[in-house]
């Protein structure tokens, strides 16, 4: 508990309790919301809680979730990355197209390399040239979509014989009954959570996001750090593209459309602050799962697919409001 401040005039017990409740909700609110949401759906539809359904949802959100892992690092570092949408389209098209041309292994390696190059462009513009990350990645969102279309000259790309290629492993197979995409997503999440909390890299990302000037004054190379968060975001997008490419064995040019804002919604829902300096990978995973389960639950309840959008609107604002109220100790602003 922080050093007890001598409360000014009205130090009634009520304000203390309210503050403590708010603090608790702020910290664990996201977990409660997740359990609440699971409970509601499992009561209302019998099929929801079956392992089959849970694994399917986990697989379905694994693409969105994998991208969100990298974007979380960018946001904790105090920036935004809107280019992941068309970057996903670019990487998926590339891995699928190269698969038949140079074989799966080289296709995967080349795709990761080229995606990292685009991530490096983002990193240079925002990190070294210090341009505003929202506008830069907004510009790149449009430019990368153009590059993708130029590369395929508008055509779809397909993998010819989809049956006997080990590339199917990433998107279609399962190990001990757990779909590989889910394993990749959760595995990568665990690794990146450890990187974020336990390694020097993670500590420095928190520092440049929390207070860039103080970080620079402490000998941290701020430009290089921002640059590397964009590389990480590009890497996780490439991984997501490999899963998506393998799952569908083909790709259209706009397959990633709309992912960029959905990813942000998941990151924000998890409680990572847009101002930078706070957040965690696990909270993002929970945020993404909530989005996935809302969609799945409502579908099973027979609601049309767009009903989830209304629920997402309310959930995002409630989650972030709770987080801010906890920090402020008061529900509403007074100015």
């Amino acid at each position: 508990m922080k050093a007890s401040l001598p409360m000014s005039n009205s130090s009634t017990v009520a304000t203390d309790n309210r503050k403590r409740v708010l603090q608790f909700l702020g910290k664990h609110g996201i977990l409660l919301a997740f359990l609440l949401c699971m409970m509601i759906f499992s009561l209302t539809t019998d099929r929801f809680l079956s392992t089959g359904n849970l694994l399917t949802v986990l697989m379905q959100v694994s693409i969105l979730g994998t991208i969100a892992l990298g974007v979380t690092f960018v946001v904790i570092g105090g920036n935004l990355d809107l280019s992941v949408g068309s970057l996903l389209s670019f990487a998926t098209v590339l891995v699928v197209d190269l698969h038949d041309k140079v074989g799966p292994t080289q296709a995967i390696v080349l795709t990761i390399v080229f995606t990292l190059i685009i991530g490096a462009i983002n990193g240079t513009l925002v990190g070294y040239l210090k341009l505003n990350s929202l506008i830069v990645t907004l510009g790149m969102l449009s430019a990368i979509q153009g590059i993708t279309l130029i590369y395929t000259s508008g055509q779809n790309v397909d993998i010819q014989d989809q049956e006997n290629t080990w590339f199917a492993f990433f998107g279609r197979e399962a190990i001990f009954g757990i779909p590989v995409p889910a394993i990749i997503f959760i595995g990568l999440a665990i690794i990146l959570q450890v990187v974020l909390l336990k390694t020097a890299f993670g500590r420095k990302v928190f520092a440049i996001g929390g207070n860039g000037v103080a970080a620079a004054f402490s000998g941290i190379y701020r430009n290089r750090m921002v640059f590397s968060t964009y590389l990480l975001s590009a890497f996780t997008t490439a991984c997501a593209a490999i899963i998506l490419g393998s799952r569908v064995m083909g790709s259209q040019n706009n397959v990633g459309q709309g992912y960029e804002l959905q990813v942000l919604a998941g990151v924000i829902l998890g409680g990572t602050s847009l101002l930078g300096g706070s957040g965690s990978i696990m909270r993002t995973v929970i945020g993404i799962l909530i989005l996935g389960f809302i969609q799945n639950g409502l579908l099973l309840l027979g609601y049309p697919y767009y009903a989830q959008w209304l629920v997402t609107w309310v959930v995002i604002i409630l989650a972030v409001w709770l987080d801010i109220a906890a920090k402020r100790g008061r529900l509403l602003n007074d100015f």
């Binding site: 050093a3 390694t199 928190f206 929390g210 207070n211 004054f217 000998g219 300096g277």
Partner: protein, 519 residues
């Protein structure tokens, strides 16, 4: 409590503004302790005290920003209760901050009438009336710039005139000036004093807060001295002198400083030769030996911070060289400087010293994370052990290493920053305004700490604008004025007025060439 009532009411009529028995405390420190003050119409009442003596707290109580814990505020005899700053303004008590709060992209007139723009047919701004009224006020302050240009194009001095103009809109009874001449040239200072005298002649009460002796004696009718948040007497300016007021302000006579013997300086650690950056500072040369504390003293804008930032690799020097243990170094970044054994406790701890969201331990280990990481993996046990060692040594009051630095008091935050830089085992430690805005108790502790660090063989540079602090910690003092090194004093030969003359550019002896006052 000395008999101060007799001096106060010498003019007989009730004072414009009166504080009686005002106290205000914050966690760990009693900023104001039973202070009385009164301001009469048509009088300049100077409020004098070292940094941290409670001047700014008193000012904020007057301006309705803080509420006093005890005591009472009376305006023209009737007690008043100020909820928020706007109440003070409506009651005619106007405060002009040291940091200006203007809207850069709005015009001068719009800044002067911020929040109370004259209306036309309800919705529209009456621009004609706005510029007329603003023009009148500007003429009264004999400012030459027009009222429709955006404020961001004005010099700092002119921007200050806009702040003053804004105060006059409320036809104030009392105007409080907080260190107004900090960044003004001599010529601009003369214009400001003209304006203050003009307000005085119109019957406005002026409270002038500063710790510059020459200004106070030139301008004020009465002087009230504060030390450690306590009232230390009021003098009529006519019948007192700098010596008596300074003694009352510092509370310990200067001589006692002299016989603290300077230790025998060890090996020369850092040597700076003719360092310069165009427009910031030029041909700065000095050296610091192990076990020695070198003080850098000068007014705001003398370029001290810019010099130490260059020593720490934050700025790239255009001219001059830096040698560490006689080996030429080129510091390309703070990380580079840290590797060379340099450490900087920055001027602004909230913006430059700490990542407030992170806990104490993580902040402490930030500068040399490599020390605690093997193959990228942080050894948190070692980290915690290091932090707790400095927590012990520096007496940092915190529930534990996990406490976010956001929730610590100013003094403890500064100790965490110092601990952070000590953990890098530096050979040169630079401290920029180490005790600004810190309670008096922690201030003394930090001064003692600096002395001990020097004794343990560290080369220490202390940048400060508080004369008492410089005098207590430094073995040698570099006086800076307008980006140049005017004089270097040894501890034995220090006299106060030489020091003040050196930092205000009128150096007495012929040795240093007359410095043209910077445009």
């Amino acid at each position: 409590m000395t008999a101060q009532s007799s001096l106060n009411t010498q003019t007989g009529d009730t004072p414009l503004l009166q504080l009686k028995g005002v106290s205000k405390s914050f966690p760990g420190v009693k900023a104001l302790d039973n202070v009385d003050l009164d301001v009469n119409a048509g009088e300049v009442h100077a409020l004098l005290g070292e940094n941290g003596a409670g001047k700014s707290t008193l000012m904020k109580v007057l301006a309705g920003i803080y509420h006093p814990d005890e005591g009472e505020i009376r305006i023209e005899g009737t007690p008043v209760r100020m909820q928020k700053p706007m109440d003070a303004k409506h009651m005619g008590v106007l405060l002009i901050h040291q940091e200006l709060s203007l809207v850069p992209d709005l015009s001068v007139a719009e800044n002067v009438f911020l929040g109370s723009l004259p209306k036309r047919s309800g919705l529209f701004v009456n621009n004609r009336e706005l510029h007329e009224r603003c023009g009148a006020i500007l003429k009264r302050l004999n400012c030459r710039f027009k009222s429709n240009i955006p404020v961001k194009h004005l010099s700092v001095a002119n921007q200050q005139m806009v702040e003053i103009a804004r105060a006059l809109v409320f036809t104030p009874k009392v105007v409080i000036f907080d260190e107004p001449t900090a960044s003004l040239t001599d010529y601009e200072k003369v214009v400001l004093f003209e304006v203050i005298r003009e307000l005085k002649s119109q019957g406005t009460g002026i409270v002038y807060i500063s710790h510059r002796m020459d200004e106070i004696f030139e301008l004020s009718d009465r002087i009230t001295v504060l030390r450690d948040g306590q009232y230390r007497g009021t003098f009529a300016t006519r019948d007192t002198d700098e010596e008596e007021v300074t003694k009352r302000m510092i509370g310990r006579d200067l001589e006692s400083l002299a016989e603290v013997e300077s230790p025998e300086p060890g090996e020369r650690i850092i040597e700076v030769h003719q360092l310069g950056i165009e427009g910031e500072f030029r041909d700065i040369s000095f050296d610091v030996h192990a076990g020695e504390v070198v003080g850098m003293y000068g007014l705001v804008g003398a370029g001290r911070t810019q010099v130490v930032e260059t020593l720490f690799g934050i700025r790239k020097p255009e001219r001059g060289t830096i040698r560490i243990r006689d080996e030429l170094v080129h510091l390309s970044s703070p990380a580079d400087a840290i590797e060379h054994g340099l450490a900087l406790v920055p001027e602004n701890r909230k913006e430059q010293g700490l990542v407030l969201g992170m806990n104490c331990r993580d902040n402490t280990s930030l500068p040399n994370l490599a020390e605690y990481t093997r193959m990228g993996w942080i050894d948190t046990a070692k980290e915690t052990e290091v932090f707790e060692r400095y927590q012990e040594q520096l007496q940092i009051k915190t529930p534990g290493w996990y406490q976010a630095t956001l929730n610590l008091s100013g003094g403890n935050q500064q100790k965490v920053v110092i601990g952070k830089w000590l953990s890098t085992q530096p050979s040169v430690l630079i401290l920029d305004e180490p005790t600004r805005g810190i309670d008096v108790g922690s201030k003394a502790e930090i001064h003692q700490l600096i002395r001990d660090l020097a004794k343990s063989g560290l080369a220490v540079i202390v940048v400060s604008s508080e004369m008492p602090e410089i005098l207590t910690v430094s073995d040698r003092i570099l006086a800076l004025y307008n980006g140049t090194l005017t004089r270097v004093f040894k501890r034995a030969e220090i006299t106060e007025d030489d020091l003040i003359r050196a930092i205000t550019g009128q150096s007495a002896d012929a040795a240093s060439e007359p410095v043209a006052s910077g445009a």
